[in-house]
Symmetry: D2
Subunit: 118 residues, 4 copies
């Protein structure tokens, strides 16, 4: 492992996927809080719950990749599935924060799948 | 609060500081793992410990800002102090990952201080 | 530091405070999800947001104490203030999960204050 | 879901598994920091890295269960595998914190497997 290890984060093969995970986490966190301010908050309950789930796994995946964890592949697979679930729910809602969140989740899911397959 | 709330994360006054916190967290996580692979790992123990501390508070700060938390100011002040401590230690080591980490910590500390003062 | 370091978590002076933080985090997470299932979810929005804040800092505080972090005192002080804010809001609501959460937050705040003062 | 939802965390079917995850996370965090203080820290590098991984997924699992997440089963399965990996490494080391950690990981893995199968 030592001989192939990168010297800086920028050199890491995970750099782009870490950014996608961090962007997705922040977008999910933002969406959860914005949903709580909507008039139809009861209608947004499932979206809020999935946002919380998705933000948590995205942050864990970003940290695991940054630490070159031995479990990156499994974590990224789970992250992709949880991003899918959040994207599917967010897409149903016309709020700008939900539409934004669906896009961030879909991008993160795709990058995590590519990472898990590499 | 509702009338001034942004519709998307990109509109959030916190967007740049969230990115700085996420970048700092990933750089700290990377540095901790890279330090563990160094020959002089015993010499890096304090750096690893501060990296872990700093990564954790940076991720919490990013999440709090994304959720427009009522505690953003206090959290960013603490984050800035913990970034300072990590930067100070990282600066002592010539490894590329430590030098990189010191820069990310200093940038994050500055942005968190500006955010806390705003 | 090395000579006074405990050999096991059970010997750590932080053991009881870690448990209080973990209990508080889980109670806050539970409360946030339970609030989302309530009929008056719009009325619970602030409670949900503070639950999320409090759960996050309690988990960070537990981890920092377990790692014998150099920043334990500052973190526990912030954790205590965020527990106070969550307890104050939870107390306003008669739901069993809110009343439970207020108690867990008050206990955690007190233990964190004692830890920060030690 | 609403009709079967528990009113308090103590009533949750997840309560015992959450405690096992929190105990495991704290024990892993403690072990990672204690390993960094050992004379043979280079020999402990893999243990430290797996401790960090395991602590992170245990905290995420505890939070997901507390929030009655739709993804509990998948998360607990991954948590069990990451606990296994950490236990296997910790067992190799005679330090009290490593032996303690192996036990906490094994207990957590078993409880997460039972939860995922339920």
């Amino acid at each position: 492992m030592a001989q192939t290890a990168p010297d800086t984060l920028a050199q890491s093969r995970y750099a782009a996927c870490i950014e996608a995970c961090n962007a997705c986490a922040a977008t999910c966190d933002f969406c959860s809080a914005a949903c709580l301010r909507e008039d139809d908050v009861a209608h947004m309950a499932r979206c809020i719950a999935l946002d919380m789930d998705c933000a948590a796994i995205c942050r864990l995946a970003a940290a695991a990749m940054a630490r070159e964890s031995a479990h990156v592949s499994e974590i990224c697979q789970l992250c992709a599935r949880m991003c899918d679930a959040c994207a599917q729910e967010c897409k149903k809602h016309q709020h700008a924060h939900c539409q934004d969140c669906a896009k961030a989740c879909e991008r993160c899911a795709q990058m995590c799948r590519e990472m898990a397959a590499a």
